[in-house]
């Protein structure tokens, strides 16, 4: 289980996480919602030790991530797959080599590595791209390769950072189905960071909303859809906030 306990994180004067607490149950997909710049990506980067909390702790399987030494962190990372917002594929390597890199690290036999590469690419529907370079792929294909790279490691947990952002509706739906398929076939526990409500309702077992550095509300999809919390309602319904007269004036073309 992944657990966030009163996590604080600031960059200079900007407080991003202000006492965030959240539990991610085993075998489920938890969607982390929030406005752009609210700290969703920062939150999940703590899980793999890419960021260290200023206060509080993130625990994975009862291990406090920021207290692990290098060997411990390496072992932890071998249990977690991370799908980056813009795929973060190594552009000097072919798709196949992108997938092999993590597998080579685990000292698998060459035959098993090749089998995993082919299986993972088949699972994301990109069997014919093994020898192509990331620059030759569309944005949606790159994201699917990013998913393939994560699942090739057979991780226990997968963290998806805005997996459908910037994609057309059809490709977004393909990615959503892919995330569901990965959970069903591999039984992974996942955190999906997004502000795409359609995607959140499709893939999520539970939804948590991050607001002003804390979890504003967490619940099942139905609980979130029926919430009375005005902040959560405004977000999930996509209503603009025009309480600030400058925003209203800018939209109407006048001056405040």
């Amino acid at each position: 289980m992944i657990r966030f306990e009163h996590v604080h994180k600031a960059f200079g004067d900007k407080v991003v996480l202000d006492g965030l607490s959240l539990e991610v149950p085993e075998g489920q997909t938890t969607v982390l919602l929030g406005y752009s710049g609210s700290g969703k990506s920062v939150t999940i980067k703590h899980v793999v030790g890419l960021l260290t909390p200023d206060a509080g702790a993130v625990t994975v399987d009862d291990q406090v991530v920021h207290e692990l030494d290098w060997e411990g962190l390496t072992e932890l990372r071998s249990r977690i797959g991370y799908v980056f917002q813009f795929a973060a594929l190594f552009d000097s390597m072919t798709v196949g080599d992108n997938l092999r890199l993590g597998l080579v690290r685990r000292a698998l036999e060459p035959g098993e590595i090749q089998e995993r590469v082919e299986q993972s690419l088949r699972l994301v529907g990109l069997s014919d791209t093994e020898d192509r370079y990331p620059a030759e792929l569309s944005g949606g294909m790159r994201k699917r390769v990013g998913v393939a790279r994560a699942i090739a490691l057979r991780p226990r947990y997968i963290l998806y950072d805005e997996p459908t952002t910037g994609l057309d509706p059809v490709t977004s739906a393909v990615i959503d189905q892919l995330m569901i398929r990965v959970r069903e076939e591999l039984g992974t526990t996942a955190i999906v960071v997004t502000h795409d409500m359609r995607s959140a309702y499709t893939v999520g077992d539970r939804i948590a909303m991050l607001y002003e550095g804390r979890i504003r509300q967490v619940g099942t999809v139905q609980e979130i859809q029926e919430t009375d919390d005005p902040v959560v309602r405004q977000f999930i319904e996509g209503r603009p906030s025009l309480e600030d007269p400058r925003d209203a004036a800018a939209l109407s073309g006048g001056s405040a």
Partner: protein, 253 residues
């Protein structure tokens, strides 16, 4: 008087501390040979072998100009065979290592900072870490080792060509005989002239590559950030070469 604590927290002090921590992390990553070992030869080719043409180009013209200058300086005052002495000493001790180092600070330092900086801003460095790789073992160690090993090789080639260029210039444009040039070359020659230049070159290689990696990994802010860090890598690399040059002159001469 500046308070010691304020001095410790000043920007230059933080930079030195940051560089020290970075160098220690790279040294620690040397243990992870399984990661950097397979990457070393490729980096030696990219940073060393591919730098040979620019180093030789600079050495060729340095040798020619040095021979012409020394003839201009020595005529009527010093025996003309000292052209060989000046060309040999200047290229082996100073111009070969320093000019090659400067050229490679531009080519190699900029290459490393831009490549790693782009990887940083596109989250490829983060991706590497999530795949359980030590970024220092994967990105820094092979480049620093390649630079430390290959800068002396490239410098040795540059020295050889520079002296040869000076030799042929003396024979064809200055009316020196081959015997006169060789006599001048040998007259004050010491074996130290060779290894002194190569030790300097190795230290330049380590400094330029370390600085390139540090600037690359510190990159933020997209394309503008990559450009800024690439520029800093070249500027700091050249400055480091000049400081190290003076350091070795004090310590070894």
């Amino acid at each position: 008087m500046t308070h010691p604590a304020r001095l410790r927290d000043s920007a230059p002090a933080r930079q030195v501390a940051g560089f020290g921590t970075f160098a220690l992390d790279a040294a620690r990553a040397l243990r992870d040979r399984r990661t950097w070992g397979p990457l070393l030869l490729e980096q030696m080719r990219r940073l060393g072998v591919e730098s040979v043409p620019i180093a030789l180009f600079i050495a060729l013209f340095t040798g020619i100009v040095l021979a012409l200058l020394s003839k201009y300086i020595f005529t009527g005052a010093v025996p003309i065979y000292f052209v060989g002495t000046l060309v040999g000493k200047a290229i082996m001790l100073e111009l070969g290592p320093v000019l090659t180092g400067m050229a490679l600070a531009g080519r190699v330092g900029a290459n490393i900072a831009a490549e790693i900086g782009t990887m940083r801003v596109t989250e490829q460095v983060d991706a590497l870490e999530t795949l359980a790789y030590d970024k220092h073992a994967y990105l820094v160690v092979p480049r620093v080792l390649a630079g430390t090993l290959m800068f002396p090789v490239v410098t040795a080639l540059a020295i050889a060509l520079g002296v040869t260029a000076g030799y042929f210039t003396s024979l064809n444009l200055l009316d020196l005989s081959s015997a006169e040039f060789v006599k001048g070359l040998q007259i004050f020659y010491k074996f130290k002239d060779i290894w002194y230049g190569l030790v300097k070159a190795a230290s330049f290689g380590a400094a330029v590559t370390l600085i390139g990696c540090l600037q690359g990994l510190a990159t933020s802010g997209g394309a503008a950030g990559v450009g800024r860090r690439t520029t800093l890598a070249v500027v700091y690399g050249c400055e480091a070469i000049l400081v190290l040059d003076a350091f070795w002159a004090v310590v070894l001469l």
